[in-house]
């Protein structure tokens, strides 16, 4: 890739640049009214005030750190729960027919229900706030993690497991030294998909009227008609989602040889 000519490397940026340009033009020439789509410069200013401004310098100034921390905490807890349940169950049902039989009907049944449907019920069960959001996040993140772990465990070449068996490797070591590394590609895919979905459901949980969080800011800004802040919120969630994906990959590479050395 890197030895390709320069224009080729610019390829991914053409569409974002064109969109930014169109937005700029639209704002400048008044093609779209301000209350629907504010000028990018205004959005930039609001973003700066929201993130760096001292409390009181703007309607949302000074609360960024608290919002980000609240959202991050909800995603981390929800995602960790999903991973802690999804990875072991997935690996078990990928290797054991009994486990697969036991789980597949229920898992697929629940998976068929769109995650949004759980919102009313979880509001009744857990109330508005942390618990509902964590519940939605972990429920939604569970499925890609579980399904990919199961597919990964199924796809480990039998030859590798046989090689382990003939070298006298027992079940426990076989699981940690052969099965999990052998399924690492799938496990990583599942975890990354799960983390992506976590951010989506975080916003859903936070739209219900919680006091803090990036989703809460978006919802709040809609009610007060501050489109610029909504756009800032969306951009921040995109940024957080991207960075958390990158961090997750780094973390897995740090922890597992198989993640580092899988091409």
């Amino acid at each position: 890739m890197s030895d390709r000519p320069k224009p080729y490397q610019l390829l991914p940026w053409i569409i974002p640049a064109a969109l930014m340009m169109a937005w700029w033009m639209a704002g400048r020439n008044g093609w779209i009214p301000e209350y629907l789509l504010p000028h990018p410069g205004d959005v930039g200013k609001s973003g700066y005030v929201y993130i760096f401004g001292p409390a009181g310098s703007g309607p949302y100034a000074g609360r960024f750190a608290a919002d980000a921390a609240a959202s991050l905490l909800r995603v981390v807890i929800g995602f960790s729960l999903a991973a802690a349940v999804g990875v072991p169950l997935g690996i078990l049902s990928g290797r054991l027919d009994g486990m697969e039989k036991l789980l597949s009907l229920s898992v697929n049944g629940i998976r068929a229900v769109p995650g949004v449907c759980w919102l009313p019920l979880s509001l009744v069960w857990f109330g508005i706030g942390m618990k509902t959001t964590v519940f939605l996040v972990s429920l939604a993140a569970f499925f890609p993690i579980y399904l990919n772990a199961a597919a990964g465990a199924r796809a480990v070449p039998p030859m590798l497991l046989q090689a382990g068996a003939m070298m006298g490797v027992g079940r426990i070591r076989g699981t940690f030294a052969i099965l999990i590394p052998g399924a690492m590609n799938h496990l990583m895919t599942g975890l990354r998909l799960g983390l992506g979905i976590s951010w989506a459901y975080l916003v859903l949980g936070e739209l219900t009227g919680v006091p803090s969080g990036l989703g809460a800011v978006i919802m709040d800004a809609r009610m007060s008609g501050q489109i610029d802040v909504i756009i800032v919120g969306i951009a921040l969630i995109a940024l957080f989602g991207q960075s958390s994906d990158y961090l997750l990959r780094c973390l897995l590479r740090m922890l597992f040889k198989s993640a580092r050395r899988t091409p």
Partner: protein, 269 residues
């Protein structure tokens, strides 16, 4: 180096009456194919003596690999029994190590880590583990490649790693399932010579499955010629050719011709 390898062997002292280290009696395997039974193996019996290199030779589909899988404990026989030094065999274990035909190294471990894999988790000291790994790395002439990943080395090197990782466990029997079949002709010959030199040093009991007559004549003390449908042992031929064997010699050619003829009659009958 070689003496120490022999000393840590767990084999019992040879009795007055030679008893096969590996004793196979009346082994049969019946698979069910489309509701009808298929005799993959029928009444296979033989004994392997300590330090013997036996080749199992036969056309594809004669059940050679099935036989090896049963001996290694991956699949159960339909009838018959196997004993190793008098103890029954019923599951995979490090006393009967396998070198597979395909690449069965762990792709996420380096060459050195692959070699020490079997010894890990046995409560051995770190220092000892490292020494053993070094020793077996040099035994297969891969000292310089300890930190390479399997995908970074050649096919012949991979099979040498596969050998080292099982030899380090000091198995009583080495089961080899066409280990050099996927290599190019020149590398295959090199690997055969290499295996013989290792065998000269360590004198393991080896059961080597192959469909290549020249390979069998190059390696074996004894050749079991198999027949297919049903798979059974048709001939048990001791090879008296002197070692080192010269592929160009008349005696070698004669032996090969004889085996080719046997295999042809098998096909005709």
């Amino acid at each position: 180096m070689s003496t120490r390898l022999k000393l840590i062997s767990t084999r019992p002292a040879p009795n007055a009456e030679p008893v096969g280290v590996l004793d196979v009696q009346g082994l049969s395997k019946i698979f069910r194919v489309n509701q009808s039974p298929f005799h993959a193996l029928e009444n296979i019996s033989f004994q392997a003596q300590t330090g013997e290199l036996i080749c199992v030779l036969g056309p594809s589909g004669c059940g050679k690999t099935t036989l090896l899988k049963i001996l290694s404990g991956f699949i159960p026989p339909s009838a018959g029994h196997i004993t190793l030094n008098g103890l029954p065999v019923f599951r995979p274990g490090p006393d009967r190590c396998v070198v597979f035909q395909e690449d069965a190294l762990f792709p996420w471990l380096t060459v050195a880590e692959n070699i020490s894999f079997g010894l890990k988790g046995r409560g051995l000291g770190r220092q000892f583990l490292r020494q053993e790994t070094e020793r077996f790395l040099s035994l297969v002439n891969l000292e310089a490649f300890g930190d390479y990943l399997p995908r970074e080395i050649s096919g012949g090197m991979k099979q040498r790693v596969a050998l080292a990782r099982v030899l380090i466990l000091n198995p009583m029997v080495l089961l080899m399932d066409e280990p050099f079949a996927a290599l190019d002709a020149q590398t295959r010959e090199e690997m055969q010579t290499f295996l013989l030199s290792l065998w000269g040093k360590l004198s393991h009991t080896i059961l080597f499955v192959t469909h290549d007559v020249t390979e069998a004549v190059t390696l074996a003390d004894r050749i079991l010629v198999m027949d297919k449908n049903p798979g059974r042992i048709r001939h048990d031929i001791p090879l008296t050719l002197k070692r080192p064997r010269m592929r160009e010699s008349d005696a070698f050619h004669h032996q090969c011709k004889h085996l080719f003829a046997l295999l042809r009659t098998e096909k005709a009958g």
